[in-house]
């Protein structure tokens, strides 16, 4: 008896439900069946070799690259990651002091987790952030409480990425709201200034802004005045992210019906109250998907600071590979970096989906249930 004749009457088969599921989901039409077969073939060709390379034949022991040389070609050299993980996470921060950025990373993650809970969206959260960030900088710089001073030129790795991304978004987001409101202002001077800023910044690559911040800006400053390189890079990134976020926010503002503005005005609300209490809460809610999209892009764009000599996560990986003993393990190193980026970006994405759902609850959602 052939399988084909069975599938005509799948109910009679033992395990018929599984067959039904397969038919409904994977083989419901000729193209779907073809796609399923192609994907199965690719999985069969790619997955087992990858598992063999990444796990079975992989070298985990540290103690030099000799074992990796022996496994070259058929096994991954995770020993490189084990060996270099502290450099990748903390950059050139003094080795003995690396518990400080380590603690800093944990503090950052704790701040993200606390802020993600809506029950914590209270005024005190602002103080928690201020306190948390002050503590992180205290840890990183030191110079007090017996912690040796570490200049920010030596900060690096994942910690630097988190600093650039967190400060970048925290500063750029509120400023972008002002910029978006300015672009819709009824005052021509304000509107024109905002349009020029947005179009100018969006018209140049981030790299050129970073170059300007690191190379050109010092030329224009009076002698004796110098702005820290990290700060300059941070400002350039904020300026860049602001322009993009402003356009996202403006899209949200445009989606709010005129009646909402009129109702707020008719009640005697001033411009700022109207915006803060009525318009922005609605506009930002509908802007969550594109906002998070921009946040994610920005998080990864922080890796461009490598061109002005800052060692973020990705450049730390690259620099580690320059050591002759470990050259040639780029795949492992970049996979590791990709995994870290992915963990942060995927969390942002999942969180934004949950947030959208939560904020929609009590409105359209309940209406549909009734």
């Amino acid at each position: 008896m052939s399988a084909a004749s069975d599938s005509v009457a799948p109910r009679r088969l033992p395990g018929g439900r599984a067959v039904e599921w397969l038919r409904a989901n994977l083989f419901y039409s000729v193209p779907s069946a073809l796609a399923t077969l192609v994907l199965l073939y690719l999985a069969w060709r790619l997955v087992p070799p990858f598992i063999e390379w990444a796990f079975v034949n992989a070298v985990w022991r540290t103690g030099g690259s000799a074992a990796c040389r022996a496994a070259a070609g058929h096994g991954a050299c995770w020993a490189y990651i084990v060996e270099k993980h502290r450099f990748i996470l903390f950059g050139t921060y003094p080795y003995a002091q690396q518990w400080r950025p380590g603690l800093g990373i944990l503090l950052f993650i704790a701040l993200y987790v606390v802020s993600s809970r809506r029950a914590c969206w209270r005024p005190w959260l602002a103080w928690v952030w201020l306190g948390g960030l002050a503590l992180i900088f205290l840890l990183m710089w030191g110079g007090v409480l017996g912690l040796p001073y570490v200049e920010d030129e030596r900060w690096g790795g994942l910690m630097l990425t988190l600093i650039l991304a967190t400060f970048g978004i925290a500063a750029a987001f509120p400023l972008s709201i002002l910029l978006a409101l300015g672009r819709r202002s009824s005052m021509p001077a304000v509107r024109t200034a905002c349009v020029i800023y947005i179009e100018l910044i969006r018209g140049v690559p981030l790299i050129s802004l970073l170059f300007m911040a690191s190379v050109m800006l010092p030329l224009f400053l009076p002698s004796g005045v110098s702005i820290d390189k990290l700060l300059r890079a941070q400002i350039a990134m904020v300026m860049f992210a602001m322009a993009y976020l402003a356009e996202v926010v403006r899209g949200g503002l445009q989606a709010i019906p005129g009646g909402q503005y009129e109702a707020a005005e008719a009640l005697g609300l001033s411009y700022w109250r109207k915006m803060l209490l009525i318009v922005l809460p609605q506009a930002l809610r509908i802007s969550i998907p594109p906002l998070v999209n921009t946040f994610i892009a920005f998080f990864k764009d922080t890796s461009l600071v490598v061109i002005i000599g800052l060692f973020d996560l990705l450049s730390a990986v690259k620099v580690g590979l320059e050591e002759p003993a470990w050259s040639g393990y780029g795949i492992e190193a970049y996979l590791f970096a990709a995994l870290i980026y992915f963990a942060f970006c995927f969390s942002m994405s999942r969180y934004s989906q949950r947030l959208e759902r939560d904020l929609a609850r009590g409105r359209r959602h309940i209406l549909r249930e009734e």
Partner: protein, 249 residues
């Protein structure tokens, strides 16, 4: 500016253009305290625009408008002061969808009038009882029917304890079976002595509560009169034509 009459709203020689379109032509009009006025007229006659001038949702280009003795001009503070005293109900309700019914009512009193939260909530619950919707206080606007939303909108405007209430076609967006519940609330409000300007085609409402009916056409006030006079013996041909159109079916 010294208040010289009992009028709470005075318009003198008001003109308004939308671009090339002359929406209001030489409007002279005043409303006494406690007066209830129904404004009617064909669509595009400028009746909504006239009401929206009173709280400066639109601005006029010529003439003078005084509300409670304050002249409406570009002074933002004066405009906000007038808006605090003038409540408005819109055709499309315009409730704030991200706030509960109760929050819709307490928002302006707490932020604009600086009323303590507790007091604002008590006032809001009183008003919701008055519009017979107190049990919906914790729902969101989208969970209410059109008639319920419009009653909430009336309560929201009343929460500012306004001296004047403007209604811009308050029942036009409602299903027929919901019109009465909104009109009943408005009739009650009128009986309590509120000064009201109502743009509507509900002639039954006009007969019941209006002190004066104002008929507008092509940006002009064509005729004003007591409701019984206006409906039974309109003086102008334009008013006759309009009445025959809306009462004819």
């Amino acid at each position: 500016m010294i208040l010289t009459s009992a009028a709470i709203i005075e318009m003198k020689g008001v003109d308004k253009w939308f671009g090339e379109f002359h929406v209001l032509r030489g409007i002279d009009f005043s409303v006494a305290r406690g007066e209830k006025i129904v404004i009617c007229g064909p669509s595009g006659s400028g009746k909504s625009t006239m009401v929206r001038l009173i709280n400066r949702l639109e601005s006029h280009q010529r003439g003078q408008i005084l509300v409670d003795g304050i002249e409406l001009a570009d002074d933002v503070k004066a405009i906000e002061a007038i808006r605090r005293e003038v409540g408005m109900v819109f055709q499309q309700f315009n409730l704030f969808p991200h706030l509960t019914v109760l929050q819709n009512l307490t928002l302006a009193p707490t932020w604009v009038r600086r009323m303590p939260k507790r007091e604002a909530e008590e006032l809001a619950m009183q008003l919701l009882k008055r519009v017979r919707i107190a049990e919906q206080a914790d729902k969101y606007p989208a969970q209410l029917s059109g008639g319920q939303q419009q009653r909430v909108a009336i309560a929201r405007a009343l929460a500012m304890r306004p001296k004047v209430m403007l209604f811009d076609e308050p029942t036009s967006a409602l299903d027929p079976e919901m019109i009465k519940e909104v009109l009943d609330v408005m009739i009650e409000l009128a009986r309590e002595g509120m000064t009201m300007l109502v743009v509507t085609h509900e002639m039954g409402f006009a007969r019941t509560v209006a002190d004066r009916v104002v008929f507008m056409d092509r940006g002009e006030i064509v005729e004003t009169g007591k409701p019984q006079e206006f409906f039974s013996a309109p003086k102008t041909d334009r008013a006759k034509l309009f009445l025959s159109q809306i009462l004819g079916h």
